[in-house]
């Protein structure tokens, strides 16, 4: 457990008096891509927000890098974990400015970015593929470009842990692959990623671990192959899963339950 970046023990959380998460246990190891999969309303986003400290938990314990979540000061936490939530504003700012916001936890009282901050921003924009559109207004970008710009901000935050809530939603298939490949690239650079995906085939292809959720609880956490062969995804989503093996990879797809 020493290499656990994120650990949840018996965590309950929700909105108002209603608990969505029911005693969730989860351990995310360093350099993993863990995908939360489950039907609508099962608590995936709630879990992501709770683990990232955006939503308070009513019981249980959350550890990030071995330290209790509540013991982190907000800026200290923002240097360890970045989150891209589902709902985002689109202010009329330039892509470069947005990416620079990722450096907010590192800025001093006068909020003046240092040369090091600008270097991180440049690197993040290159990595996210938005360097060429740095001066474009966020509002003029397509959904995919906007998603990449927000990813550049999260990358500029330079955290070992990254939470992504449905990073591919509303994007065309090509852009979805671009984003998922970027996620893999980030993993290859040593980051740990916890994300929510609705597309099961993508989850099985791009994750190292899949946590299957239902009604606020985690049913299992397994590598993609195992979770697919267990039939759990099929029973939770009421679908039939198919897997075709090619020389290089497994190709998954799902059809309605017979």
């Amino acid at each position: 457990m020493t290499d656990a970046v994120l650990s949840l023990q018996g965590v309950c959380a929700g909105y108002g008096t209603k608990n969505i998460l029911q005693s969730v246990d989860l351990c995310v190891k360093e350099n993993e891509i863990l995908t939360l999969a489950g039907p609508n309303g099962c608590g995936k986003s709630t879990l992501l927000k709770t683990a990232a400290g955006l939503l308070p938990h009513t019981s249980g314990k959350i550890y990030i890098k071995g330290k209790v979540l509540a013991d982190y000061a907000p800026k200290e936490l923002a240097k360890i974990a970045a989150i891209l939530p589902q709902s985002r504003s689109v202010p009329g700012i330039r892509v470069e400015q947005l990416a620079l916001h990722g450096r907010f936890p590192y800025l001093g009282m006068m909020r003046r970015p240092s040369r090091g901050d600008w270097e991180k921003v440049e690197e993040a924009m290159e990595l996210a593929g938005v360097a060429a559109m740095r001066d474009r207004d966020l509002r003029t970008l397509s959904g995919g470009e906007r998603q990449k710009a927000y990813l550049a901000m999260a990358i500029a935050q330079d955290t070992p842990l990254l939470f992504l809530d449905e990073p591919t939603t509303y994007l065309d298939i090509g852009k979805q692959f671009e984003i998922l490949e970027m996620v893999q690239l980030l993993q290859s650079r040593g980051k740990t990623i916890v994300m929510v995906l609705h597309d099961l085939a993508h989850a099985l292809t791009y994750s190292t671990q899949i946590a299957v959720m239902q009604q606020g609880a985690i049913l299992s956490v397994q590598p993609p192959k195992e979770v697919f062969s267990s039939g759990l995804l099929q029973s939770v989503f009421h679908v039939t899963g198919h897997c075709t093996q090619t020389e290089t990879q497994n190709i998954y797809y799902f059809t309605p339950e017979k």
Binding site: S89, G92, F104
Partner: protein, 334 residues
């Protein structure tokens, strides 16, 4: 130099030039003509009994400074409140903040007529209470942007009724009653302006310092929290700054409307949404706007003088209707 930066600098330089021209316009227009040679002579010889000197020092100068202070304060207050509520229809007068400030200012002036320093402080607390009420309404009930505007109208009506009651109960003590309700810079004295001007100066400095944080807040509550911002605290600080500015302006200029609505819109139209640029430009443009409208009020129907609040309402009303009819849901950010 990058085009957006060049654009910002050009805009700021133009505003500075316009501000100087507007100050001259304000200083040298009025019901009585002011001879420059006479004035310069009296200033040089420190002839404090000369007519030109007296008009300049006791009438024109306080009025000009009042217009600068109120215009800058209300424009920046509006820019902040629009960004915090993510509502482009919001401004201190629309959501009832001015009325809150006005009611408390009148209450303080009625109950403690001798304590002039108390008026801007009371106005600040009135503005703060109204702002926090509106914000709580938005946060707790998830009220739509239009509902907030309507809630502001309702609050404004209640507080206006309160102000009317005060004027009936304390007819002698209430500060320049009619001018106060409409909004005007005539009759402002240096002594009356001083405490409010200090509060405005503090508020403007704080607002400019918070420009970057306001940008981060504009990304949405969850992203701002994820970036390490203490969102609730920051929102409170920003609302307090906005209330300080609106309250202080109302305390001497009365219920001036629409500067806080129009000026931030114009700045954002030309400069985008970066509050580090929008706030200082709104400050300059707000001052220019108030100076020019006040000067227009002085000579448009001369020898009669139209209070600046009436001109602002004439301009601001159609502007507000335009924003309503433009079809957007009033969001600043999609």
């Amino acid at each position: 130099m990058k085009s957006w930066r060049r654009k910002g600098i050009y805009f700021a330089v133009c505003l500075c030039i316009l501000l100087v021209l507007a100050i001259c316009l304000s200083l040298f227009t009025g019901s009585s003509s002011l001879s420059m040679t006479q004035l310069l002579e009296q200033l040089r010889t420190s002839d404090t009994t000369g007519t030109a000197y007296r008009i300049f020092v006791y009438v024109r100068l306080p009025r000009t400074l009042a217009a600068i202070a109120a215009g800058a304060a209300l424009a920046v207050s509006g820019a902040i409140i629009q960004a915090v509520l993510n509502n482009s229809l919001a401004s201190p007068n629309i959501i009832g903040v001015n009325s809150g400030a006005g009611f408390c200012a009148l209450l303080a002036a009625s109950l403690f007529p001798a304590a002039t320093m108390l008026v801007p402080v009371a106005a600040f607390f009135g503005a703060l209470a109204t702002s926090l009420f509106i914000y709580a309404l938005a946060a707790k009930t998830g009220a739509s942007r239009m509902t907030l505007v309507l809630a502001g109208v309702a609050i404004g009506s209640i507080l206006s009724a309160g102000m009317d009651v005060l004027m009936i109960l304390f007819p002698d003590d209430v500060i320049g009653a009619t001018g106060f309700l409409v909004g005007s810079f005539s009759g402002v004295t240096m002594t009356g302006l001083q405490p409010a001007a200090i509060l405005i100066a503090i508020g403007l400095v704080l607002a400019l310092v918070c420009g970057y944080d306001l940008n981060v807040l504009a990304l949405g509550e969850e992203i701002a929290s994820g970036l390490g911002m203490r969102v609730a605290r920051m929102r409170f600080v920003l609302i307090a700054i906005s209330a300080l500015l609106a309250g202080a302006a109302v305390s001497f200029a009365g219920l001036l409307g629409f500067i806080g609505l129009m000026v931030p819109h114009i700045c954002r139209r030309f400069l985008g949404a970066d509050n580090r640029v929008v706030l200082p430009c709104a400050m300059l443009l707000g001052a220019i706007f108030a100076l020019v409208c006040d000067a227009l009020g002085k000579f448009l129907f001369a020898p009669f003088e139209i209070p600046v609040g009436i001109l602002l309402a004439l301009l601001g009303g159609p502007f507000f209707l335009f924003l309503l009819l433009k079809g957007g849901r009033g969001r600043m950010y999609d």
